[in-house]
Symmetry: C2
Subunit: 264 residues, 2 copies
């Protein structure tokens, strides 16, 4: 059974998609094979990997209008497969909301179980990790991801609004753990877009370190324009420019992530 | 009747709240009085103005569990009133979704009409502008804001994912205009967190100017850490540090906004 990691934070623009893409790509190199699932109606992970927004997407699959395999793009890059999103997914937040809670909350985990079983039936090695890229909200899509996940990785900008939102994210994890998914853990917090030169970044990082201790990853991702350029070329930064400061930081992060996995 | 401006963009972290707070504050100085409505479950506009997250908030009001006046904080700053949000609002996306479309889509405009009538009944001058801060999604809360609005102001980072999302935002405006609110216009696009030194910013800005022409504001807001520091002091940047590069840019933007208003 693969380990399922939800990349979640309801604060917008904190680097969820950039982290999901580069963690999935780094793990595909170090510990393949990997599956990345795009659960955001913006479909940024799908576009950022150069994949067109074709139908059916995870939207039709969640609402039982298509088979899971129809939204799967296998081996988009070596060792990396993708379940693509599409803008229609915006309707899923409301449509999932209309389902009974049991069906709604377990809609994603059922899909992942089907995809894993079908992959084994085709004689392919099981995915080691499944990475879930979540939208900037704590609505039905993110809750379904938290029900499916073994752990949550929360990217976070070192800024006031992001810090303010962290306690609500942790509160939601607690609620999901006690009611829906007892194995869910906060796997880690990753500081992103860090600008060492500014005092605010340092103050917020200090605050997070005091509250969360070793949950905070040692590696921090610096602000680096090459990370923002990569998606316009349809490539993960690790493939677009491996020598950029941002890519080297994501390589360090993937190594730190795997070191933590070994300790568990 | 006040003019209603929705600050909307489903892309997360593009500066919606920072723009909503500083536009509202600038207008409160130049053309008071102003009402700011926080429609985001993150309640960043509420916290960013130093207002505690008390109940009832706009959440209870939207679901008819409280009177609109109970969520109103009058004259938080000179000439600026706020309808506060709270985290409970996250449930509204699903709960509003369960209402019939007519009730759901007109839930916000009904509240604004009530607040305006009550203000006049108390002998206070009517608000000149109502500014709506939207969450990073195109769900029921944002649609209700688009139904209530006369125009949309779309803050946008000069980056690939933000550009990719702009066409979807414009598509949603078209849909709302033809089905729900015939007077809705795209009032303007405001480039935020611009770093003049990097090529990506310039390329994206060029793209937007080519597609949208004079809809794009001449003023661009530079990346400036003082804008990110202000909310931790519970103050709009214009009051926290008027001389900062970011504040001066927002002052220019407010002047450009008012100049466009005069031309209409
Ligand atoms: N370390 C970084 N340095 C510079 N730019 C970055 C960095 N990480 C991400 N970006 C850029 O910042 C923007 C926001 O990042 P991203 O889209 O990954 O965040 P997100 O949390 O997924 O956003 P959303 O909440 O909309 O889903 C994007 O344009 C991205 O390319
Ligand atoms: N011009 C700027 N320069 C530097 N930092 C900025 C600027 N504008 C906004 N910020 C900071 O960037 C972060 C994102 O901005 P903000 O929260 O206003 O965006 P948003 O679009 O409202 O986000 P969300 O999608 O989560 O609602 C915040 O921490 C904010 O303080
Ligand atoms: Mg994203
Ligand atoms: Mg906001």
């Amino acid at each position: 059974r693969p380990k399922i990691i939800a990349i979640a934070n309801q604060k917008g623009g904190v680097g969820k998609t950039t982290t999901a893409i580069n963690l999935a790509t780094g793990l595909a190199a170090e510990s393949p094979p990997i599956l990345l699932v795009d659960l955001d109606p913006q479909a940024n992970a799908t576009t950022g990997l150069g994949c067109g927004q074709a139908n059916p997407s995870v939207y039709e699959v969640l609402l039982d209008a298509a088979a899971p395999a129809e939204a799967l793009v296998e081996d988009l890059f070596a060792g990396l497969s993708l379940v693509r999103a599409a803008p229609a997914l915006a309707a899923a937040e409301v449509e999932l909301g209309a389902l009974d809670p049991e069906t709604r909350n377990h809609s994603l985990i059922r899909i992942l179980e089907t995809l894993c079983a079908e992959r084994t039936a085709r004689g392919k090695p099981p995915w080691h990790y499944v990475i879930l890229d979540c939208p900037p909200a704590l609505g039905p899509l993110t809750v379904a991801a938290l029900v499916a996940a073994d752990e949550v990785l929360a990217p976070m900008q070192a800024e006031f609004f992001a810090l303010d939102g962290l306690s609500r994210l942790v509160g939601t994890l607690e609620t999901v753990r006690s009611n829906l998914n007892p194995r869910l853990l906060l796997g880690g917090i990753l500081l992103t877009m860090v600008d060492r030169r500014n005092r605010l970044s340092e103050q917020v990082a200090e605050d997070v370190r005091r509250h969360f201790g070793s949950v905070l990853y040692e590696t921090a991702i610096p602000r680096n324009v090459r990370l923002a350029e990569a998606p316009s070329h349809g490539l993960p930064a690790l493939l677009y420019d491996l020598n950029a400061a941002g890519s080297r930081a994501y390589v360090r992060f993937v190594r730190e992530f795997l070191a933590r996995e070994k300790q568990k």
